[in-house]
């Protein structure tokens, strides 16, 4: 298994939780929506920090590329955190339109972010970091959450 395969799998895991949260809030099932949203927030944060604290610095050290793809990915993490904050606010206000709009935006942003990671950045990381033991640390992080 490649170094980044667990991160790709974790994307799918987050997708599942996203779908649960979105559906519940669209149907006005706020209690289960809140539960799924809390899990989503936790899992996304774990994913982002695993990349920002482990994978990206290792990639940047190995390649010397500090202003390329990793910078773009960090920027998109900020945007996704912000959309999550908007969703949290809408959830607290029981505003299903507001939640749905922010969720729709997060979904597209998240999917095209994942696409860029899975198709371009992760293969580059696998190439650059093939000899390192970073994969085990990533798995530990994702499992601990």
């Amino acid at each position: 298994m490649s170094i980044t395969a667990p991160l790709s799998q974790h994307h799918k895991h987050c997708d599942d939780i996203f779908a649960r949260a979105e559906e519940a809030c669209a149907n006005g099932e706020w209690a289960s929506g809140e539960e799924a949203f809390a899990l989503l927030a936790n899992q996304l944060e774990t994913h982002f920090t695993s990349e920002e604290e482990l994978l990206f610095p290792a990639f940047e050290n190995a390649t010397g590329m500090t202003s390329g793809p990793t910078e773009v990915m960090r920027g998109e993490h900020v945007q996704m955190r912000d959309l999550m904050a908007q969703m949290k606010e809408a959830l607290a206000a029981r505003d299903s339109d507001g939640f749905g709009g922010a969720a729709e935006t997060l979904l597209i942003l998240m999917q095209q972010h994942n696409m860029k990671e899975e198709n371009i950045l992760y293969p580059m990381c696998d190439n650059a970091l093939g000899a390192s033991d970073i994969g085990a640390s990533l798995v530990d992080r994702l499992k601990a959450s």
Partner: protein
Amino acid sequence: MHPSLSFDQAPPISVPYRFFLAAPWFGVLAGLLLAWSGGDVLGSRWTPEALALTHLVAVGFMLQAMCGALFQFIPVAVGGNVWRPILVANTVQPLLLLATLLLVAGLLRGIPDLLAIAVPLFLIALGGFVIVVTLALWQTPATGMTLWAMRMAIGGLAVTVLLGSILAEALAYGFSVPLIALTNVHLAWGLGGWSLMLLAGVSYHVVPMFQLTRPYPAWFTRWFGPLLLVLLLAWSSQLAFDQAKWLPVIALPLLLLMSVYAATTLWLQFSRRRKIHDATSLNFRVAMLAMLGFAVSGGAYFLIPGFGSDPRSVVWLGVLAFIGVFVSAISGMMYKIVPFLNWLHLQRLGAPMSAVPNMKKMIPAEAMTGQLRLHVLALVLLLAAVWQPGLARLAGVAFAASCAWLGWNLLGAIRRYQIFRDQIRASALHR
């Protein structure tokens, strides 16, 4: 490491939008032309009106939208660098617009000079577009079947344009070509080699992405494009050999192949994880059902002599393909891409993110689903009008209205973009 890697080079918003904004209005023109003509213009694919209608939809609506989408999709989905996108878009789009109008007027009124002027314009506009896109698609370090499908599709566009140019020149200057075979091959590359290939390649990404479906099966994405290409090459051999009796042997597997694509997409949508429906997912569903309808009708065309010998059957197939499959799929795509691009470009203005309205504030959901309903009604009326010429005018009005509503929805999204942009800039000045 990867010097040509384009990671965040979505083009300026004006690049895709100038194509997206123009596309629906060609559909309006097509609808108005049909409403104006009335009568039995759908009685055969060779009436001047049918030829004009086909190109208004194929080149005016579909090609405009697909070119605009490629400018956006290549950097984002396959990491390719499109060379000077603003310059290319600003050159290609007006030329394409003008060439389309000349071609349609030439076909409709039978004016050779207009066709003769349209051909070089098409060759310059689309030749330039094909070269720039091909370079971007070949230089990207990305891999995957979407990239290969896009590479094959751009080849399909080149073949379509070349064959179309030969046909138009033949009509303009009156030299002799195997008109029917050449038209059949031109049509197959336009609908199959370019449009279907691109739609499939884009679907590999966007169907799982928008609706959280499972990915398309690996065997499918590996084989679909190459098989389509081989079958289209076999279909093209009718230019060299007189082989009418062999055509069904090539056509039936082609129809089967597109049925597998449509059925797979419908199955993925049916078993999706995201249960919420929107105008995009419903448009895609209409497109895939129309594709299955096309495949079944295409089978009947070759296997049931009474149906195949009626010139209306080809028009029926045309309505299913152009309006049912591609206008639906493209409308659905634009309804997702435009709100997202609005949001993406607005939040890049540097405002606090909470000041940027979310995607659902860009086009009202009811306006999109209402337009979709009208589009389906127009499709049904158009299909009926093939067999009941008395319905042609009504079908034309319905299609024109549906496309005008689509155009209005997109214009509304752009107006909102401008309003939000001005608000964000004004509040930045006051901070």
